[in-house]
Amino acid sequence: MTVQSAWFWAIGRIDLHSFAFVRAWEDPSLDKMIAAGAASLVVLGAIAVFAIITKLRKWRYLWQDWFTSVDHKKIGIMYVILSGIMLTRAVIEAVLMRMQQAVAVNQPGIVAPEHFGELFSTHGSIMIFFMAMPFLTGIINYVMPLQIVARDVAFPTLNSISLGLTVSGAVLLMISLVVGKFSTGGWSGYPPYTEMAFNSGVGPDYWIWAVTLSSIGSTMTGLNFAVTIYKSRAPGMHLFRMPLFCWTALCTSILMIFAMPPLTVATLMLALDRYLDFHLFTTDLGGNMMNYANLFWLFGHPEVYILILPAFGVYSEVISTFSAKRLYAYRTLVYATMVIAVLSFTVWLHHFFTMGQNANINGFFGIATMCVGIPTGVKVYDWILTMYRGRVRFTVPMLYAIAFLVTFVIGGMTGIILATPPLDYVVHNTLFLVAHFHNMLIPGLLYGMLAGYQFWFPKAFGFRLDETWGRISFACWVVGFYLAFMPLYVLGAMGMPRRMAGVFQGEYLPWLIIACIGAFILLAALGALFVQLVISIRRREKTRVPAGDPWDGRSLEWAISSPPPEYNFAVIPCVEDRDPFALRKEQGRAYQPPHAYEDIEMPKNSVLGPVLCIVGAAAGFALVWHIWWLAILSFLGILAAVIVSSFSRDTHRVIPASEVARTHEHWLRTVAEARAIPRELETRSANEGLAESAV
């Protein structure tokens, strides 16, 4: 064995030039320095986090109370934290891209075209798989079991494994900043461009394994949520008594179960092409790359509704709570959600109208696409009619809901334009499309999740978020959105293609500058969000809501303490209405002590989630760099971990009734001592989480 082959055997394709630092050392151009700067942020950030945790001696605490925890609430919070970290990276990348385009008119920009390709690929992949999916998964994880009054999800360990797999995918993406380069093939990774023949580097492999890990995690999450909703509802909680958020969670879960497999199939078949010389999507020997586009969008379109439906659920809760009204036309909202979920499987072709199939097929899918507007329209009217004659309070979540209603409808209009095949031919692959999907996903996902975050934060942590900084952040998200994306409609209509590292049309410049300013305002919005968090934590003593109901809520997650005990409900209540907590407050029986307490059986912590996270990331990294021994070892590790854990019989522990009673009665005393406040005071420090209607 030569030295070289021994080297390859040990560390695969890694060499000195794989490291961003080395590349910047050899060629200290602005482009390479930016890459090295990003890499050092990752490295220094990781070192700093390790150092701080070690200094505070928090490893044991984190391991026992968080990483190995199977509590749906903690897993939900960890998902949201992951999403926040990834959001930060992807927003910074967005600003870089907007700067590049504003600068690179008739001249080279700040980053090289290759680097620009990496930027839009990571931005898209992160925003979809590692920002949006974890955010909504986290919020559903936290809220849904509380709303249906379950003690946990149906398969708590599986929940922790899903989180582990998602994190390992995110870790791969972060590592790609330091070692090697990410794909330049966009978030959809179309072959033949991503095939070995055209792209033999590690980029597409990073993309494949990061996305595959997260897609498997999401499939399991969907399964877990769906079974929880089907089988773990409290007595009396018929499907048609569930809060609307749970309905959207159910439909999203079903979409995950059926729509993630096409993605897994597509990425794995691309991997077969790249690793084992298959010819599934190649240009030669009978490969068919059009099938990839077809498979990818079989996933991609339902994915859009996976992202948007939970936000619809959040808006339904927020609007009805802050209008102090029952949700208008609940049943039609439920049916509309179902119809959207089913229709989402019938429209995928509109992502490739221009691929060459005949006009009848395009026409069919165009019409199917427009049909989606009908149930969505029903929803918009239902929300407006919920507000009608309500006493609307303009809190931060409500502001997001209103901004969503207006902005989302505009996005829907441009969607109708794109759904018309002949018009689509004109604007296909231009910034018009980029403007459209940001116009749907920013209000339809990000605003929704942020509204949910502001709305349920006091439930999770026991204190409210700062109202002023919440409003500042909100204003920046909205203004920034309009400035950043409305110009892209114009540019798209002028013919500017998407994903351009530079252009030669001077007339694009003013619009690109406006969009760039918008991007900076969006960055400020993100900053304000962090400022809000820090300030809120500092002032938490003044904003505590121990009684648990800061917004005069209507569903049962508000009927318990904030933060809730591990087992959620001391005694599982019987549900008698669609707005059970609102009804109980009206009847003055919201805080009655139960007749008797029982022992509660809860799942024990499991190391399987974090172990699979580490081994999964190792497997992904090994496959990317062709380190075969590590890949084999990792797969054996996964197998061994799963088998060993199946031998564990000591999986539950019992919380004695006396302890439950003590905790619950302590909380009931807190409620009795709390001062009930009218709704006008809910954003003041007088708000201890007890609404006036309850007294």
């Binding site: 089907y230 079903i254 059926f258 096409p262 068919n288 059009m290 099938n291 077809n294 498979l295 079989l298 499987f345 019938t346 995928w348 072709l349 691929m355 060459g356 199939q357 005949n358 097929i361």
Partner: protein
């Protein structure tokens, strides 16, 4: 009904399933092996037999039936079938259309 009788009844279920699956399999292979029909028809027969066998397996091995208490599973199968048909049917229609237009 005592355990023994129940056991026999359930055993009979598996046996019926096995026997009919075996018969259907043999029929399908025989059609192809002995060239009993022109190619197009043969494929049609094979697919039809396969579909029947699919239902036999669902009924006798997976115990899916139309009784009320197992409705959840049946609904799930029907929904999965719908989604699968949309995906597979759509894929074939779209890609064969593209194939012909490129000829």
């Amino acid at each position: 009904m005592d355990d023994r009788a129940k056991y026999r009844r359930e055993l009979r279920g598996y046996a019926i399933g096995f026997a009919s699956a075996l018969a259907l399999t043999c029929a399908a292979f025989a059609t192809v092996h002995f060239d009993l029909a022109p190619a197009g028809t043969t494929i049609g027969i094979v697919f039809a037999l396969g579909l029947i066998q699919l239902n036999v397996h669902f009924r006798f091995f997976l115990h899916i039936d139309l009784k009320k208490s197992a409705r959840d599973d049946l609904q799930l199968i029907l929904f999965s079938t719908l989604i699968t048909l949309l995906m597979v049917g759509g894929t074939l229609i779209i890609l064969f259309n593209l194939y012909h237009r490129m000829m």
